[in-house]
């Protein structure tokens, strides 16, 4: 009797499984004429410091909190950077599926950063090969004071980036991105900075587990003028994405401590060769 019950159980279960397979395959046979948009080239709105080609969906809110701790090379002197953390806090809203706006506040220079991100083309399955996204940021430096700089005007507080991002999901695991980024500063330090910095950047995401990926990004600045003091390097960032329901958590190692795009792509002061790198994380929560 026991054997018979067991047999029936197995029989029905497998029967059900087969039935499910059949139904699923029937679903798959219905083909639409519209080209399917390739999804999830990147899971986060950022690769690590750089923007990815993902946008907030229509009506979707993102809250974001990021930290970069101090220089790791100082060891216990600053408790591996915990003493001098920088914070970024803000939100992003998707107006439509192809346009979203964001605003963030940074500890670094008390900057307010407003952003616009807009999609110009989607990568399609067996169709258009790449996703193209434009991204603009405007920084308002609220740390500058009239006491120190008597001739200060509001326009001196502003700095901008204009970015064109092109990405391709190569396969289920690997996505790559190219970026063309221009930084423009209304106020700049003649001894150390260029007014205009153009970078070509590259980033990639490689999935190592169902909910984890390794991210890498680098930007090569084009130096047009030799400066008296040149404390800056090309930004190189390595990250690890951990996806938990509703959150994307990104661990980051970078040679740029500030997180605003203007500073990342023109003023990365850390140096990987000397171990002067900064650890931190980005946390996104969608509503």
């Amino acid at each position: 009797m026991k054997n018979f019950l067991g047999f029936m159980l197995v029989f029905f279960l497998t029967g059900n499984l087969f039935a499910q397979d059949d139904l699923l395959s029937q679903l798959d046979t219905v083909k639409s004429n519209e080209k399917q948009i390739e999804t999830a080239a990147f899971k986060g709105l950022q690769i690590a410091n750089m923007q990815s080609t993902k946008l907030a969906a229509k009506g979707e809110w993102y809250m974001l909190v990021s930290h970069r701790f101090g220089d790791l090379s100082e060891g216990f002197n600053n408790f591996f950077g915990l003493d001098n953390a920088l914070t970024k806090f803000g939100g992003i809203y998707g107006v439509t599926n192809w346009l979203s706006f964001g605003a963030t506040r940074h500890t670094y220079n008390k900057i307010y950063e407003v952003t616009a991100k807009y999609k110009m083309a989607n990568q399609e399955v067996n169709g258009f090969p790449v996703t193209i996204v434009g991204y603009n940021t405007m920084d308002i430096n609220s740390a500058l004071e009239k006491d120190l700089y008597p001739n200060l005007q509001f326009s001196d507080r502003l700095a901008f980036t204009t970015q064109l991002l092109v990405s391709r999901k190569v396969n289920e695991k690997l996505s790559v991105e190219l970026g063309f980024i221009n930084v423009y500063k209304n106020l700049y330090d003649d001894a150390a900075e260029q007014q205009n910095v153009f970078s070509s950047a590259a980033g990639l995401r490689y999935k190592i587990a169902k909910r984890m990926s390794i991210n890498l990004e680098y930007a090569a600045r084009i130096i047009t003028e030799e400066k008296a003091i040149d404390p800056y390097h090309n930004p190189l960032t390595v990250g690890l994405d951990i996806e938990t329901g509703g959150h994307v958590f990104q661990l980051v190692f970078s040679n740029s401590q500030p997180m605003n795009d203007v500073a990342v792509f023109s003023g990365a002061s850390g140096d990987w060769n000397k171990g002067k790198i900064y650890f931190g994380f980005n946390m996104y929560r969608s509503f």
Binding site: G70, L99, G134, D156, L158, N186, Y188, D190, A191, I229
Partner: protein, 115 residues
């Protein structure tokens, strides 16, 4: 959709075409292209640092040429006054000095701390 994207791009490029100025132009500090201790650095240190960093006060003591030279070359004086590097709370405590002043001290150190 195409039109609005074009509009966005145009707006963005207009935003980025404001006039550019340097920190020298918005501050009134005097700087030198080849600074020396007695002419340029000493007055800055006297006004901003010696209040606390004097004999019997905070270390490092910054009262003489040798002391300032040592703090710049072997200590972390530059890192502490330059808020773009991360060495904890910026010096002086009342807030970072004007950018051209910081740059001049960095330049002075790069040129071998001329007396």
């Amino acid at each position: 959709m195409k039109k609005s994207i074009l509009l966005l791009f145009t707006c963005a490029s207009f935003l980025a075409s404001c006039t550019t100025r340097t920190y020298e132009e918005i501050s009134e500090t005097e700087t030198s292209a080849s600074p020396t201790y007695t002419a340029n650095i000493e007055p800055i240190i006297k006004t901003n640092c010696v209040g606390c960093h004097s004999a019997g006060g905070r270390l490092p003591t910054l009262e003489t040429y040798d002391q300032v030279k040592d703090a710049t070359q072997n200590g972390d004086l530059i890192c502490r006054i330059d808020q773009t590097q991360s060495c904890g709370n910026v010096m002086p405590r009342s807030g970072a000095m004007p950018r051209p002043t910081i740059d001049m001290i960095i330049l002075w150190q790069k040129e071998g701390c001329k007396n």
